[in-house]
């Protein structure tokens, strides 16, 4: 069955500390992979995406993610977290060819301590 797992429901980090949010997927075909961020009362904003090519992708706001096919993972990282990064983060997978029937993980809520 197709699924996306974000093992960490909540993560708390101090401002300036590094961050890694985990995402594992189960998908029959070669997936498109995405990380979205949702701030309180806001819609989803795309942080970064992986379609093909270089497995380390750079996104907005200083985020990056690495696709590891052997581990079926697409973890999100940031070297130094800012207080404004506090939000909920969703990993999603979709099929190649743009069917857009995304499967979302359950999300990781990030809290940043001053």
């Amino acid at each position: 069955a197709q699924s996306v797992t974000q093992p960490d429901i909540h993560i708390t980090v101090s401002e300036g500390a590094s961050l890694e949010l985990r995402c594992n997927y189960s998908y029959g075909a070669t997936p498109y992979l995405f990380w979205y961020v949702q701030s309180p009362g806001q819609g989803l904003q795309l942080l970064l995406k992986y379609f093909s090519g270089d497995t380390l992708v750079q996104g907005i706001k200083g985020f990056e993610a690495e696709f590891k096919r052997s581990q079926s993972s697409f973890n999100l990282r940031k070297p130094s977290v800012h207080w404004s990064d506090a939000a909920e983060y969703f990993c999603a997978v979709g099929a190649k060819g743009g069917t857009y029937k995304y499967i979302f993980g359950t999300g990781t809520r990030l809290k940043v301590l001053a």
């Binding site: 009362g41 999603a92 743009g98 857009y100 359950t106």
Partner: protein, 113 residues
Amino acid sequence: SAVISQKPSRDICQRGTSLTIQCQVDSQVTMMFWYRQQPGQSLTLIATANQGSEATYESGFVIDKFPISRPNLTFSTLTVSNMSPEDSSIYLCSVAEGDTEAFFGQGTRLTVV
């Protein structure tokens, strides 16, 4: 990227009533979708809104409960019918064009009392 406007942004409704949510895009898009995000849950695709034809619903969602219209390439509505407290969720409109990522509106936060 497409700019998506959803109305209303939030509403509190009585059980048994219906609410229609509007989604307006600033450009013509081929694909429009409606998602539901229940409290503390992830997003679940409700249906694909097809221009000029009936929407395509995902398993567990039916047209009688969630009728969808898509009269043109920039606009769609989702109605949540005969609401119950279990329908309290955030409903998000999403659009896509070509082989790229999907974009999301800011969502409609619905509370049914």
